[in-house]
């Protein structure tokens, strides 16, 4: 029984990281109807920046916030330079750019920081497990950080004028433009925010899986699955989906099929759920007028 609980808790911890990336994916999706394949690689790159700062002697939390700001700036630049000119191009062109970005970030990171696995420090210390051994300090800390991030993002969208403007720009660009919302700026901000959330997730996952240029490949896939499972139009659903995927992955890997096949198994379960409930667990069933 203790073993099961342990797996559930560590599933919740990794689920929190999937939830963050899933939230970043959903934010860009609701605003632009694109799935950013490069989200994970951008997060990985930011994490390397954090490591470089920390190794240069910068205190962890200063490096943490500097990295988040760096990631936001990169997100805004990518949107302004690459995505905005392609706004009216076919969807496939944007997909091509996303895949191109994925290669660029991955390869550049490998070139600058090499492909060797690097340990990444945890801000929560290495100390012994808490709560009867169910949670390691880092798992507890990173889950807390994830929840704080998710709550602040929710509050930002719910209670601030800027958040409202961003939601409006995503929901109905032309009406928002008529009411004086600078839609292009809002989109760029959305990209910045998503990229910043990704960077936080990167810094939280790196102490667990070690830092290397391919660190996020699996994480992105789980996050994508989580986002779709919860309903890609619903940020809260995506977050819940991310947590569910984390728990399924850990339990399945430990008790059902072993670590080799756990990725396949998690995906198959999700596909079955989606076949029964095509809009995701919390997704809105969109009806369109004909």
């Amino acid at each position: 029984m203790d073993g099961v609980l342990h797996q559930v808790f560590s599933g919740i911890a990794s689920g929190g990281i999937y939830a963050s990336i899933a939230l970043a994916l959903v934010m860009i999706f609701t605003a632009t109807h694109h799935v950013n394949f490069a989200q994970g690689e951008m997060a990985m790159f930011s994490t390397y920046i954090a490591l470089t700062l920390i190794q240069a002697g910068v205190p962890y939390w200063i490096a943490f916030f500097a990295t988040v700001i760096f990631a936001m700036v990169v997100g805004v630049i990518v949107q302004k330079v690459l995505m905005e000119p392609l706004m009216n191009a076919p969807v496939l062109a944007s997909v091509g750019v996303f895949i191109g970005l994925l290669f660029i970030f991955n390869s550049t990171a490998g070139w600058i920081f090499t492909y060797t696995l690097k340990p990444f420090p945890s801000p929560f210390g290495e100390g012994g497990p808490l709560f009867g051994g169910f949670f390691s300090r880092h798992e507890l800390g990173s889950t807390a950080i994830t929840l704080v991030v998710l709550l602040s993002v929710w509050a930002f969208f719910r209670f601030t004028r800027l958040g409202l403007a961003m939601r409006a720009a995503a929901y109905n660009p032309s009406s928002s433009r008529l009411s004086g919302v600078p839609v292009a700026t809002m989109l760029a901000l959305g990209w910045g925010l998503a990229s910043g959330i990704g960077a936080i997730a990167g810094m939280m996952v790196a102490p667990i899986v070690f830092l290397d240029p391919n660190m996020m490949a699996g994480v992105l896939l789980y996050a994508f699955a989580g986002a779709l499972l919860g309903g890609i139009t619903n940020p809260l659903g995506a977050v819940v989906g991310g947590f569910i995927v984390g728990v399924i992955e850990n339990l399945g890997g430990a008790y059902v099929v072993g670590t080799e096949l756990k990725l396949s198994m998690a995906l198959i379960i999700i596909v079955v759920v989606l076949t029964l409930k095509p809009a995701g667990l919390f997704g809105k069933v969109l009806s369109s007028r004909v």
Binding site: L92, F103, I104, S107, A225, P278
Partner: protein, 317 residues
Amino acid sequence: MSRIAIILGCIALAVLPLLGASGYQLFQLTLVVTYAVAILGLNLVTGYNGQVSLGHGAFYAVGAYTTAILMDKFAVPYWATLPVAAVICAVFGFLIGLPALRLGGLYLALTTFALSVAVPQLLKYKLFDDYTGGVQGIVIDKPDAPFGLALNSDQWVYLFTLAVGIVCFVLIANLVKGRIGRAMIAIRDQPLAAEAMGIDIAMLKTYTFAVSAMITGIAGSLGAVAVQFVAPDAFGAPLSLTFFVGFVVGGGASIVGPIFGAIFVEFIPNIADQISKAAPGAVYGVLLIALMFVAPGGCASIVRKLSARMPWNRKTT
């Protein structure tokens, strides 16, 4: 007339390397044809029918393994494995297409991507070890030219692949030009109107998936013969991504597009490697993005623009 002349000219151009190209160059060209056929299959389902598949590497893998297992365990000649691979992949595609009916857009993309992730793991699975050779894979022999033709085996494999490739392209070109092709496009653009016109959407979508899987499976079969080796890790998610890049570069809903896409995915990584040994992926990514900016509709859109300017296509005013 001129259209046929251009097509014949292209075929002549494709046969030309037999005269002077080295073994390795012929091998690369064989892979280009193989990729072109695989991307053609993907283009049918994604370009013409609008169902996004990120998992066509799985069908390629099934085709390749069918050929390898038949040749290795049952001593079937390479050419006889093609129809078997085609049938198996069509059935496999049909089965995958059934749940795909319920899943539109991104959900289908995830399902197919899951497939491409799962396939290498399944191929390594212990139960099938006797047939698949596990992690080691299977090595197969290179076929020699039949009927005493004065060709070495590289030349023969290229010629054989090219011939099968041309047959596939002609078949698909005819398929999309006819009633079924128009129905596929109608489903992509206006599903409701298509249904009102009496198209059985569910059936046609599943059939499209099956035909698409069949074509890509044939490509896998050809690829196995050309490479003479199959192993699970060659057929993972990166292969599906490669096909998708080729599809995007070539341009959706186009018959010539896959050829350009195949040339891109076969040669551009080598060029990127020559430009920068340190970060070839970055160069590849930059080239891919640059191409998307120059031709957002893929290479096929450039071809369309050029051909509209040709004297025989100009409208007389």
